[in-house]
Amino acid sequence: MSKRIVVDPITRIEGHLRVEADIENGQIKDAFSSGTMVRLLEEILRGRDPRDAWAFVGRVCGVCTSVHSLTAVRCVEDALDITIPPNAELVRNIMFCAQYMHDHVVHFYHLHAMDWVDVVNALKADPQKTSELAQSISHWPKSSPGYFSDIQTRIKKFVDSGQLGIFANGYWGHPAYKLPAEVNLIGLAHYLEALEWQKEIVKIHAIFGGKNPHPNYLVGGMACAISIDDVSGINAERLAYVGQLLQDGKNFIEQVYIPDLMAIASFYKDWGAIGGGLGNYLVYGDLPANGYKDTKNYKFPGGAILNKDVSKVYDVDVRKDDEVQEFISHSWYEYKEGKDVGLHPWKGESKINYTGPKPPFENLDTTQAYSYLKTPRWKGNAMEVGPLARVLVGYARGREDFKAVVDKALKDLDVPITALFSTLGRTAARGLESVLVAQWAHEFYDQLLTNIKNGDTRMAEMSKFDPATWPKTAQGVGHTEAPRGALAHWINISDEKIANYQLVVPTTWNASPRDSKGQLSAYESALLGTPVANEQQPLEIIRTIHSFDPCMACSVHIYDEEGKHISRIGILEN
């Protein structure tokens, strides 16, 4: 006898993800992940000027706004064979790094930490002991007993007022919370510090991108003129400020995020054997150190790993017709050639055909279509994308910088490499790549300064900006590694306009429904075997799904039909 439980929505931020899980003997036996919102960007873009695509796709979501814009300019540049100047690549890289540092820290403290840190329990901590513990794991200066007791006073005021706000949805006191009160208090204190810090690092986007949120990009380069003495351009003062923000970011990651991550992880080592899932990982690669076309010199190398075998990394080609394909056998779409074919995105179609139950409904018929997400596959394989995939591919490719951070973490936690294939591994990988990204950001920044000192201030290649120079038809693909994983946009240009535009986004790889062969995608697969101690409070499901950092805004192509988005956990006898 199994019970089906429904968690909807499961995200703490944008979008609508619903998970249905069948539970038997306290463990998940089967799981179904459904995107319940549709947002047809493809239709909005059709017929528009390709040079404007970045501005529209940047509006998809407020979380990783700039990575979609980056991918859009790359795909148009690919179609029109434009090579951007080195400075533009460096500025894009620095913005990319700032985005990562922001997104990963916010994910850890604000979207995921409360799955591990019990806020209410933090009130019981001894500030003196908390201070001693904090000083033993980090040199971060804010660590006095007075500091921690002040945090407790502030939180107590909130808890007593009944206005829990962000903390209102926690399962406080759940038996799966294992941290001592003092670690909970450190986590909570840094939750607040991270809130303060995160608003600083994003200023880099405003400096180079003119505004934030939704910074500006440009086909051919970047729209920020370097002019060392000019008050309105990227001048010496602004560049120095960027350097300071990058340094502050690196300090925060090294002295706050990583020590907290390791301290918390040390109490949850059992999660190093839960939530692994597929064991197949896909990375397109990013952070070009020598131009976007030189893929061998990406800081994040591309590649695919199958069946957890890190001795072999396969090359990935997003152009090949038989590599990346999208299937719809369990999605609310229809293709001209029927439900069972897979289409490469250059031939992609986005026609909706909702066949699900009329809302409000109790549960979905998961034998039929049950999601607004399509199902992407790489050479027919279900793949996980994201930080864990990137760290594993970097490690498997033998990159020294990856090996250094991974080996140290495994040693410090005293766990084998197999512990990476898990919920804990995913959460740890996000922290480890943050360390790398913070280091690389400085390399890009130093290179930018060197170029400027050497007299190179070129920021855009505009010779092919005029549509009169374009071929009658062209197709391109742009890819990136969004914080949540491999992201690519495919474009077909015809008569100077967008004829077709397809986005295959990270959360679609991870959160998609099963394919026609019955192969589960990453979320569904990762939930199998997960223990659930209390069906009314499925904290364990949330931990694993949150470890992927779900963000549905771009992956589902409208809102739940009733506009209903009230948090709900339903339990159905099956």
Binding site: G15, L40, I44, R59, G62, G165, I558
Partner: protein
């Protein structure tokens, strides 16, 4: 924390790609073309979420414009003065969680500005595209008038307080 005592931010929120849901962004586009007092700043907040915190805490007063899905007729304009995240209408648009989180965060940080929230009822969040429906287009002049009126009232109140201090 607060730059100066009479600073006002008018922030429009919404997803520009989702029809009426993006009306906040449309409002800022119009206000950018209009004369405003020097202490008033404008921000197209888009679907900014966490990115907005730095903007919000810099101002004494923030006027937020956003869409909401309630049972009122499309184009109904309401002014709310929320003090807690729970004072926000429940069915605000797709970015609502971000904004509510930001309000709680500002309270935690003790940097909560005075907030005036204009919400405009829309019929559906299912719209695609960058156009507003005729009902929302028709409500725009009144919405803009009310925003200007609110700015004027704030200016008057601030001037009055200043005079009281000086006297």
């Amino acid at each position: 924390m607060i730059q100066n005592d009479n600073s006002i931010l008018v922030m429009g929120l919404g997803n520009y790609l989702m029809g009426d849901e993006g009306l906040g962004v449309h409002v800022i586009d119009v206000l950018l073309q209009e004369p405003l007092p020097g202490n008033v700043a404008l921000l197209d907040g888009g679907t900014g979420g966490f990115h907005l915190l730095g903007h919000l805490e810099q101002y004494h007063t923030v006027i937020v414009v956003d869409a909401t899905l309630d049972n009122n007729a499309p184009g109904t304009i309401r002014l709310i003065q929320p003090r807690f995240a729970s004072d926000f209408p429940r069915a605000m648009s797709t970015h609502d969680i971000g904004l509510k989180d930001m309000i709680t965060a500002l309270q935690f940080l003790d940097k909560m500005p005075k907030v005036f929230l204009f919400v405009v009822s829309i019929e559906s969040l299912q719209q695609q595209g960058t156009q507003l429906t005729p009902e929302i287009e028709a409500a725009m002049p009144e919405l803009l008038y009310k925003i200007h009126q609110q700015i004027a009232a704030l200016q008057y109140e601030q001037a009055r307080e200043l005079m009281l201090v000086e006297n």
